[in-house]
């Protein structure tokens, strides 16, 4: 049976008429992606909440696209009427990562922004929140960035029990099995 995308199409139309410089993609049923540049995120979120009834904020997450030298921020919001998950995605510069503060729309964004600030080092100007979220006294590179060398840090900081030196790298085998390539930046983790 052919799936009909009536409400998704409607959303597409509404967003397309309201905003010009955005790319909208209907991924599957009840899932719509919106790719926007960073200054459009706040208007889209506001518009979706106030006009289209997307009043439930689900998630804010961050992806480190180290290959493109970018961070991707994903805001997931949801409407109880249309039951559509609306993904608002934006990419920001990795060298100077700042993003607009959006916690005035939904208060719970506060927590996500604190986490992202701590784990990825993305600043939210104008955002007032507790400085520390999970980590205490962290001085190194934010640990969720992919250029943070976990193993080196662990070897420097923590002790090692004798007899656990073999440390076979299973990633190589997994990569070979699934036919993928380990990217260059991750090569240095391998033990050989």
């Amino acid at each position: 049976m052919k799936t009909s995308f009536i409400k998704e199409e409607l959303l597409f139309q509404q967003l397309a008429t309201a905003f010009e410089n955005v790319v909208i993609e209907i991924v599957r049923k009840e899932t719509v992606f919106v790719y926007a540049s960073k200054e459009f995120v706040l208007p889209i979120l506001l518009y979706a909440k106030e006009k289209l009834g997307y009043n439930s904020f689900s998630h804010l997450s961050c992806v480190d696209w180290i290959e493109n030298d970018e961070f991707e921020l994903v805001y997931i919001i949801w409407s109880p009427e249309t039951k559509i998950n609306l993904f608002v995605k934006t990419r920001i510069d990795r060298q100077n990562p700042t993003m607009e503060n959006t916690d005035m729309i939904w208060r719970q964004i506060n927590t996500y922004q604190r986490e992202i600030r701590e784990m990825f080092g993305i600043e939210f100007p104008g955002f007032v929140g507790e400085k520390e979220f999970i980590l205490e006294d962290w001085e190194d590179v934010p640990p969720m960035r992919r250029d943070f060398d976990t193993l080196e840090y662990v070897n420097d900081t923590f002790f090692e029990r004798e007899g656990r030196e073999d440390k076979q790298d299973v990633r190589e085998r997994i990569a070979k099995r699934s036919g993928e390539e380990i990217p260059d930046f991750a090569k240095k983790y391998s033990r050989e």
Binding site: L135, D137, P143, T150, V154, T157, F159, E160, R164
Partner: protein, 181 residues
Amino acid sequence: MYNDNNAQTIVEYIKNFTRKNSLFMLAYGTGCGAIELPATLTSRYDAERLGVRGAATPRQADLLLITGYLSTKTLKRVIRVYEQMQDPKYVIGFGSCTINGGMYWDSYNTIKLLDKYIPVDVYINGCMPRPESVIAGFKELQRLIAEGKADGATKYKENLDWYRENQKKVLKNWPLVEYNW
């Protein structure tokens, strides 16, 4: 009584006997091991028959259970709790995470070797150790206490500088309160 190399006076013997048979434990539910404790304490395995019972605060406790992985953030509190306990006191490390890091061997915020930071009297192996092994651990600790060998606290006092150095390496900006009892 136990072996001749380790002759004890009668007072010491009584003390050790009561200590071994009355362990007030502070179960510091740090990791997944905490879920094994209800089973250990309740009807099926019944640790209370060995004299093990829960204590609510470190002031009353004899035995500190580190049940599983310890993040550096938790380590601070564990050290504090350990130092608030009164002598004589014992520590049991639960599971492979406390022994060698276990599955968190390369985690940036989980310590791998508990006995570098606080003295551990008994380790219980496993991921997680089942209640049977937990009780075996209690038994082992009781044997050590009876023989007067569970002297982790004394070791900690004697090598305080060494322990402090290790702790400071992980806990950089944390005010470690002076330990002097």
